[in-house]
């Protein structure tokens, strides 16, 4: 076999391998194990051990459909965790390109799994607000002025859940599911200036920079991309076995199922990287032809 031909393999051959490696684990779920990392455990423990039934958590949908495969499983896991524990949830969306539609889809999907919960009493969706930074800052003074109504047009004063919630002080935790910079603002603006604990679930691309905030204790937990979401799913299912049925629903996309695909695709990529390096170093050892 001519090794130099391997070096010049058509990139579309690699794409084909990746496509096969992606589709097969979707059709035939493998169920590879998921190990828990400290940042995700911290996030889970914050909600499980430090919040009580009836406490209020603000969940901000700071992502759109473009990163939904990573952020949506996080949102589902957080919502299921809060609803299972009896924690009240206030939902907002600060990401312009689809944050609201993601919030509507995920909240309605998860809320349907908990028919005992009542909209406006146990959870509420305040909708989208433009100018994220300004909205975050103003919410420290009065949330009712930033969001005069919920997304259905009901004034906040008429919603039981919002009766005693005026500022961040009336909530125990902020969870931001973020793509881009909005998640950072929760840490370096809201946590720094107003002190409320913040957990961020960023996309994998932006996860590394959040470790600096986590190390500096500006965040109470971190879910890095799909891996972080799959870890949180595992923790939630272990604590609330009732949710295992939900996560086992055929055709339901979960981060744990997604990680099967990730692992297979990573193995394919590692194989190509190793092969490429072997071929490269082997061809370097060959004596050059005399010119």
């Amino acid at each position: 076999m001519n090794l130099e031909r391997v070096m010049q393999v058509d990139r579309r051959i690699i794409y084909l391998f990746i496509a096969i490696g992606t589709i097969l684990p979707i059709l035939f779920v493998i169920g590879l194990p998921v190990s828990i990392t400290p940042p995700v455990q911290m996030a889970f423990d914050r909600i499980e051990n430090q919040l009580q039934k009836g406490d209020v958590v603000l969940i901000s949908f700071d992502y759109g459909p473009s990163s939904a495969p990573e952020n949506a499983p996080m949102a589902d896991a957080f919502l299921r965790h809060c609803f299972s524990k009896g924690i009240k949830v206030v939902v907002i969306a600060l990401y312009p390109l689809g944050g609201l539609s993601e919030a509507v889809n995920e909240v309605s999907k998860v809320a349907a799994e908990f028919p005992e919960l009542e909209y406006g009493v146990d959870y509420v969706n305040l909708g989208y607000k433009d100018g994220a930074q300004a909205a975050m800052k103003k919410m420290a003074e009065n949330i009712h002025e930033v969001f005069p109504t919920d997304m259905r047009g009901t004034p906040l004063s008429e919603l039981p859940i919002m009766q005693n919630i005026r500022t961040y002080r009336d909530m125990k935790l902020v969870v931001s599911l973020a793509t881009g910079i909005i998640g950072e603002w929760w840490a370096n603006l809201v946590n720094a200036q107003f002190g409320i604990p913040v957990i961020v679930g960023p996309t994998a691309v932006s996860a590394p920079k959040y470790y600096a905030y986590l190390e500096a204790k500006q965040m109470a937990g971190l879910l890095g991309g799909l891996k972080g979401a799959s870890e949180y799913e595992r923790l939630v299912v272990e604590k609330y076995p009732k949710l295992a049925e939900v996560y086992a629903t055929p055709g339901l996309y979960t981060a744990t199922k997604g990680m099967d695909v990730q692992s297979i695709v990573h193995m394919i990529m590692i194989a190509f990287i190793v092969l490429g390096n072997i071929v490269y170093f082997t061809s370097r050892k060959k004596p050059r032809k005399a010119s």
Binding site: Q193, V261, H266
Partner: protein, 210 residues
Amino acid sequence: MPSLGTWLAAFFTLCMLSFLYKDNPFFRLAESFFAGLSLGYYIGIVMNQTLKPNLVLPLIHDFGANWNLVFAAGLGVILYFRYIKRVAWVSRWALAVYVGYYVGVNMMQKLHGEVIPQIGDSMLSLSYSGVGTLWNLIMVVGVLSVLIYFYFSVEHKGLIGGISRIGIWFLMISFGAAFGYTVMGRISLLIGRMVFLVNEWAKPLIGSIT
């Protein structure tokens, strides 16, 4: 049988993926649709979710209590004066207000929420107290060597050159971690589309045929 919306989504997804084979008119069609839809969605959502509940309805329902919103609306309108040549300069007034506001917000935010906490977190104890001290030492060496790498007022040779080379190693390791995460992120997006194509389009389609 998949719905019309699912068919459209599947068609546009396949159009986008077709770029992996080579550039083609289907990809360009889908790209243009995406750009147009995104802009239209953005305009629609700002109108319905921001301008209507925060400006239009308060002015209609209680003008006396909300008259000051007229100034905010005026500043917004003035921004568009830049498209009228004779009064384009007026748009700078609104821009000045916006820039001033966000500089003020950002300056405090960066100093208070980023610079000071991160500097504080970098000041770690090096007195021996177990394995943790080793990590503290690595952190301190990493921070100092990377800072020296980005210090360009002294030529990078001799001691400074050696330290900055250590800084390059730390940077390379962090870039490697970031790139690994980036790969995972991109694969996640591919998974999302493939899950849609398989579970919401192909499976119902095959089911309806068989």
